[in-house]
Amino acid sequence: MAIHLRSGAAAASIVLAGALALVGCTGTTSPTPDPTGTTEPDAGGLPAVIELLGVRDQTGAVAYTGISAAKGTALAVKQAAEEAFLGEGVTVEVDERDGAFDPTVASTAITEGLASGNISAILGPQISNEALAVAPIAEAAQVPIVFTQSGVDGLLTGQFGYRASSSQSSVWPRAIEKIVADGAKTVVTFVSANNATYNQLGTVVIPPLLADGGVEIAQTFDFESSVTDFAAAAGQAAAASPDAIVVTLIGPQMPTLITQLRQSGYEGPVYVTAAMTDDQMKSMGDAGHDVFFPTNFSYAISSGLPAEFTKAFQAEFGENPDTYAAETYDQTWWVLRAIKQANSADPIAINDALLALGLQGFEGVQGKLTFIDGRDAVSPGVLVEWDPVAAVQKIAG
């Protein structure tokens, strides 16, 4: 899929885009240009066509994540085009390729995509295993690669790797705060055994946060990603009568687990990862009460950039955006700003600009983003509750 950024003719757009560049340099960039700005962009160093490579899962077990991701990118590119963000006559093409939930396929996609020699930056995979496989390829080619999701440790060890989505560990304190505030003393945890990101979250990140809040983990169950039935563990967890249950399994597993927890008699709060889609939430029906998840974005946020993004996304695609789309929207804008700041399509110049922008931080639809070492996003996060009656997300009270 090629997405073209076509410049508008209006001089006002150039003025607006210039303002955005100026704000970007100060670390408070908004995706919507500041109408008060006056700086005109210098597109002299930019070629007529700037090529980006996107590798996300369009097929495979979690294709819905990649499809949403591509939409987030498409919206960012379209808005930038409408605003002539990179200047008149400058076109951005995104070559979207399928990672297919397979590190080998993702690696091949990156290798083939880079073969043209014209790629300025890569919008990297969301799956940790794919990300780990492709990172060295981008590093060797000296082309910056900006990931979303892919929360696994050790990913950003090179000079060209970045992560535009805040990790689960940065938003989980919002959930722990509520668990503690509700007076919970014991929890039972359900942890993915072989998903690197969720295993790390459930075994390394959350336990110390709970311990700091004085909450004891009464029991932990770990599951392989292929497990489909949780009745036995759900029954045992319910029998332990914990004050809360914490789940870090993959998205498709969680509706079944939560339903089986309710069937086993557990009616307390369940804290899950943001990996569940609205459709998966809906499948729980009445069992979806008291289900909370900390996230870096929710369409339920009713003000500021997230609300503007939600409105634009709904207008463009006729649906609510999810976290995957929000993350790639910020990711793509980060890259576009870096291109603008570098005033060049050269990957090394863009890499320098990405790092500079990362060190400053910026306001995105994930909230105020700061970056560890200028590379790894951290956002404040928000706690969301699923409303099973209206079948929508709402901000937890």
Binding site: D57, T59, G60, A61, V62, A63, Y64, I67, A193, N194, Q219, T220, F221, D222, F223, E224, S226, V227, T228, D229, A231, A232, A233, G235, Q236, A239, G251, P252, P255, T256, T259, Q263, S264, G265, T277, D279, Q280, S283, M284, G285, A287
Partner: protein, 295 residues
């Protein structure tokens, strides 16, 4: 403990329902159907498409899924496996080509469902609930109980049919020696279609029941179960009804108690290690000697 045993028994019944048809087709008419998991999934997917338009009673969802499974399986046998077997040069080539054909068919069905659902989960819109039954401190949903009862009932009925009916005798004869069976007047191709129809019916039945039990499945759920089915069938002995029953329950109990013991991440490794050991000691599986195909 009793609750955990009951839950493990339900899990074993899930594996059993899924594995039974596959074992039957493999151990008798010699079709190792790699698309069995895809039939399971696609049967549910078909019901999902229907219930997206109008909610149906759960029992009707299960019946439709079973029928879709049977039809899909017959189509596969008639249009693909039967043709492959006829055109293959020898028995080994036929078996190999059927496996490849099955993988291809599975990829098509999974691809179609994945495209339609963006690889997301899907479930049924039913007009009735899945109530939780409670007796003697044991909690079990109506669908879980149904899965257990149906799996056991079908296993007993199938075992008796294979042992005592003329059709069952014909099936066993084909399983032992297809050429001799043909000389004895047994219409192998008709028997193969009937067996595949029954195997597909069971796959669809499992798909319908499991989708309600699990709330939702996704296009690749059948793949995971396919691996479990292989394990159960090999452990019990290919073609043996009792074998697949034992294999399914051993697998389920090992997995369940590994998970309850807090080492669920090792469940598959330990389950398959047990199977590995059984295969070294008894290459035909626990109950494969008497009923396993010998050609």
């Amino acid at each position: 403990m009793i609750q955990s045993i009951m839950n493990a028994a339900v899990l074993g019944s899930i594996y059993l329902l899924f594995s039974m048809g596959m074992s039957l087709a493999w151990g008798t008419v010699g079709i190792l159907n790699f698309a069995h998991g895809a039939i399971f999934m696609f049967s549910s997917f078909a019901v999902y498409l229907i219930t997206s338009m109008t909610a149906l009673p759960a029992i009707l969802c299960v019946i439709i899924a079973a029928l879709v499974g049977a039809i899909l399986s017959v189509l596969m046998q008639t249009l693909v496996y039967g043709v492959i077997r006829k055109r293959s040069t020898d028995h080994h080539a036929a078996e190999r080509n059927v496996i490849i054909g099955g993988i291809g068919l599975a990829a098509i069905l999974i691809g179609f469902a994945s495209h339609a659902t963006k690889s997301g989960s899907f479930g049924f819109a039913t007009t009735d609930q899945n109530p939780v039954l409670e007796f003697a401190g044991i909690r079990i949903t109506a669908v879980s109980l149904t899965i257990f009862v149906v799996a056991i009932a079908i296993s007993i009925a199938l075992a008796m049919w294979i042992r005592r009916s003329r059709g069952g005798l014909a099936l066993r004869t084909v399983g032992v020696d297809a050429e001799t069976a043909k000389l004895m007047g047994i219409n192998e191709s008709r028997l193969a279609i009937g067996t595949m129809a029954f195997a597909g019916l069971l796959a669809g039945l499992a798909g319908g029941l499991l989708t309600i039990h699990l709330v939702a499945i996704n296009p690749t759920t059948g793949d995971g179960l396919l691996l479990k089915a292989f394990a159960a069938i090999i452990l019990g002995g290919v073609g043996s009804v009792l074998g697949v029953v034992i294999g399914s329950f051993v697998l389920a109990f090992v997995e369940t108690f590994m998970i309850l013991g807090g080492v669920g991440g090792w469940a598959s490794a330990v389950a398959f290690a047990i199977i590995f050991l059984v295969l070294i000691i008894r290459p035909r599986g626990l109950f494969g000697r008497a009923e396993v195909r010998r050609t």
